[in-house]
Symmetry: C2
Subunit: 192 residues, 2 copies
Amino acid sequence: MKALEDKIHKEGKVLPGNILKVDCFLNHCIDVPFLMEMGKEIAELYKEDNVNKILTIETSGIPIAFAAAQYMNVPVVFAKKNKSGNISDDVYSSRVTSYTKKNVYDAIVSKEFLSSDDNVLIIDDFLAKGNALTGLMDIISQSGATLIGCAIAIEKGFQGGGDELRAKGIRVDSLAIVEEMTEDVFSLSFRR
Amino acid sequence: MKALEDKIHKEGKVLPGNILKVDCFLNHCIDVPFLMEMGKEIAELYKEDNVNKILTIETSGIPIAFAAAQYMNVPVVFAKKNKSGNISDDVYSSRVTSYTKKNVYDAIVSKEFLSSDDNVLIIDDFLAKGNALTGLMDIISQSGATLIGCAIAIEKGFQGGGDELRAKGIRVDSLAIVEEMTEDVFSLSFRR
């Protein structure tokens, strides 16, 4: 999505540790019309796929999932991050190691919100190593639902998570794939 | 908002500890068209007030804030919950004690996203004791921005936080105010 690449170039910053900071429009301050455009693009990509539910994970995946859901006329379920270690029986859960935050949590989803009748599209803001996605796919698998694909705003292609999933036959669509970046944001390059 | 009261009656549950569980449409699974209706109602309430920014707090405030923002044509800033105790210089922060989760965190907002030019509407999903709102108001005050009001989906009126704020002259609009509830959801009653 050219408009997203342009926006990352214009407004993003690269911080030490391969962090791409886009909190001015995506994950702290939300540029609502722009996120609606991103949601529309995702809806267009999956319009033939009978998706009946979107699954994301708190926090930053929620706005883009909500935007796409409006165009797709489906509900959004967001997985919660549970750091207590206590998991009740009425949830699906999967252990996730966060690349950005260097912590470990259990992604949890109440069993009442996912079932074998569901065709699920996962949406998230970032894809780096793919750890959060793997956790969400594990939850989908536990529920017996069908995974349709994963739609991501920004994939850090150089970290390999997206290509690993594609190599396993999983559909992954990223609106922008960053192939290289350095602490000077202007050296960002995108996959075409 | 009668439709919200009806939905709470129909789909909500009351759990021990004065917890009103509405995760089937508001804060785990999101009923997108319904949240859009709630956002529209909030936009209508504040249409004359020159709001130029919505402030909410992760996680559950985000969908309703995003919905209202679409009708109000303003960006959403969401405060983050920082539990590390380390606060950098480039953020506003305020210590909050969570009633529901029985924990303490610092609500933080990057200084670049709030300034004295802003007329801010706070939006959140729940109001009980008002601790999260008080933290967000403290952040607005630190930034020099103007607080226009607080729009809440569900206020637990019997916990008094909303009325305390109103007594201080702060505008608080709740789409539904629960006056009484017991573990039997059917005994819910609303303020008129």
